[in-house]
Symmetry: none
Subunit: 215 residues, 4 copies
Amino acid sequence: MEPTERRRELLLAAKKIFADKGYHAAGVADIVAAAEVARGTFYLYFKSKRDVFAALLDYIFESLMKRLQAIPLDQPEQILKGLMDNVALVEAFFEEDTEHAQIIIREAMFLDEDSSRRVDEMRHALVEYLVAVVRHWQEAGILRPLDPELVAHAFLGAWREFFEQRVILGNITASSEKILENLIQLFLFGLIDPEHFTLAADHLREIGEEEEANA
Amino acid sequence: MEPTERRRELLLAAKKIFADKGYHAAGVADIVAAAEVARGTFYLYFKSKRDVFAALLDYIFESLMKRLQAIPLDQPEQILKGLMDNVALVEAFFEEDTEHAQIIIREAMFLDEDSSRRVDEMRHALVEYLVAVVRHWQEAGILRPLDPELVAHAFLGAWREFFEQRVILGNITASSEKILENLIQLFLFGLIDPEHFTLAADHLREIGEEEEANA
Amino acid sequence: MEPTERRRELLLAAKKIFADKGYHAAGVADIVAAAEVARGTFYLYFKSKRDVFAALLDYIFESLMKRLQAIPLDQPEQILKGLMDNVALVEAFFEEDTEHAQIIIREAMFLDEDSSRRVDEMRHALVEYLVAVVRHWQEAGILRPLDPELVAHAFLGAWREFFEQRVILGNITASSEKILENLIQLFLFGLIDPEHFTLAADHLREIGEEEEANA
Amino acid sequence: MEPTERRRELLLAAKKIFADKGYHAAGVADIVAAAEVARGTFYLYFKSKRDVFAALLDYIFESLMKRLQAIPLDQPEQILKGLMDNVALVEAFFEEDTEHAQIIIREAMFLDEDSSRRVDEMRHALVEYLVAVVRHWQEAGILRPLDPELVAHAFLGAWREFFEQRVILGNITASSEKILENLIQLFLFGLIDPEHFTLAADHLREIGEEEEANA
DNA sequence: TATGAATGAGCCTTCATTCAT
DNA sequence: GATGAATGAAGGCTCATTCAT
């Protein structure tokens, strides 16, 4: 068999095992069993268990990047549909192959410095993408001039929360579309009833002044 | 030494070790070394390594509950200050003792079913609290009638994202107050410039109709 | 409490525990729990776990001796009843307190050199007693002049086999009286039908001669 | 090295160690030291310390069965020689490799339910074999119609007693042949001098009547 | 390249014994 | 005498990694 193919088989076996059992519970024995190769063969293609996990993160990262690069940022004429389509696309990536999400969210994030750095790169890619979208519509005067990074991180966090609950933990049964729609509405229009915008804004200003006075 | 005291010492030692090295990398040997007791002593107070971790989650949960119970939900006259104060209080709990957060967020969430259930209880307590706040101001007609649970989860997720970045991973240097303030503004007023509310709402409706037509 | 009393309580607790769980599975913790004293108290009366076991063997040995010494060897006029009564008495000792038997047969026999020596003393006492009985009736011309020690050991072994099966392992449900009666009949009259005694004796002689020829 | 061979080496090492030190005192460390392999290698071939012991019992059981199956039950023309040859064969099995006997008699019998069940199977095989022999000669009218199982158990017990004393504990120096010969004589002809058979039988009857009267 | 038997450091846990109170 | 918390040696077992074939 071609070396590259062997390596790929092992990588996919590792993906399945890590997603199933988690990094620590997964053993090299499980991986080679799933790949149907001998124990020693594993070490022909990967330096260690850590190494195959790192390779896995690379693989997932690259897969995600391919998707993101396929999205045009500047064409959408309709802000809402644009946002929804684009975010849905990211969600689809993780939902198509739930193992990806299991690994990224459950395992890689806090496994060690190296892993968390790699996840951070992914997060950064997503954030940059969201930032670009927000900035695009801010420049068009449609969105208010809030810090785009803050918005991106906030949205990412909110979305991750629901994704975790729904896909990883299975605590929510609502459809991903419905959730996403509501989430976007919340982020776009905010909580406050427009009638009370002025009142609310006044309060906000007062609080700021109080705090400055206290400081 | 009084048994209760010894147990507490071991618990705190375990908290430090688990926060430092993570559940898997932490050994009972580390814990007893930190507590400066013999190996066997550990098993006088805890059934196993798992057991001490569970006890730790209980301890953190109870500590957090004490804080939350101290907050009056129905008195705040000012929505913004109320929300900010209350959320800040939760944040303070985790920030005072970063180890708490390390353990809850990095380790407990996905360690196993038992642990994730416990973390879920905590999340639930926080969500319920946020839901109560949102509902309070919805009934007062100040907030729009969005699903309070959705709002609560979204806010929790967004907040967690920043907390992780700032406290656990150290990627952000902005002050927690500033972040919280911006976050609340985002959730309250939304992204869209009020001038374009009507336009945006129209788009939203169109999208809905398109989708129904497609279905 | 009087020291002697305390010691006795511990000894009896140990007897129960050792009989229940066996020497190795029994822990000092079990013994002190059964005796309702503190862990340390145990070591006030016994040097070690081994020590309490040795003391237990002494105790059982003495109890058995008291019984045996109470039996008159020379008065019985009737050989069968005499044998049966006497053997039944030994059996009764172990059956009254099954724990005795559990400990002697299951644990002490092969635990270590010291224990097996003690059990051997007991066995010796029983054998000597049986030897005396056999010899008594041999001198009266009732029993054939077989080696009395051989007879005693053989009987002891056969009896032990049934006792183990019945009391320790629970494999036999027949009453001890019935078994004993049959056993004694077997030992007294033998297997061969008297009609064939001569024939059998001839065979026996032939075999002996063959073997001598082969040697 | 071939797996089967390694496993066999470990099994034999375990046999030696268990026979030497007993189940509890023997450590996996001792076994792997005797087999001159690493600790982990042991667990390549056996699930646990218990497991290797069980495997050992199987091995001994099978070895014994091979011997027993080689014995024709129905051909012997001479009762005495037949019995002696056959029993001697069983004895030889244990005497050739004393470790077998050490393990079966000292350790396995009362270690736990599983072990004692296995030993019981062996005992059963021997008993059945003896029963068949006895029954064979009973049908030929040579032996009296005593319960064959009782006879078999009694003989087995008596034989075990001597075997233990001689081989395991080293208390007897007489040759096994001499002992066996005497034992068989005892079982065949019984203790009572034929001249007194009638007298003895009368006594026996009287005892029975007395007991019935008392009941 | 592929194999899989062998390795051994390292982990969790138990329990007889000690000792300060 | 009595207590029971503390001890730590010892034991069973796992698993990532190596290496001779």
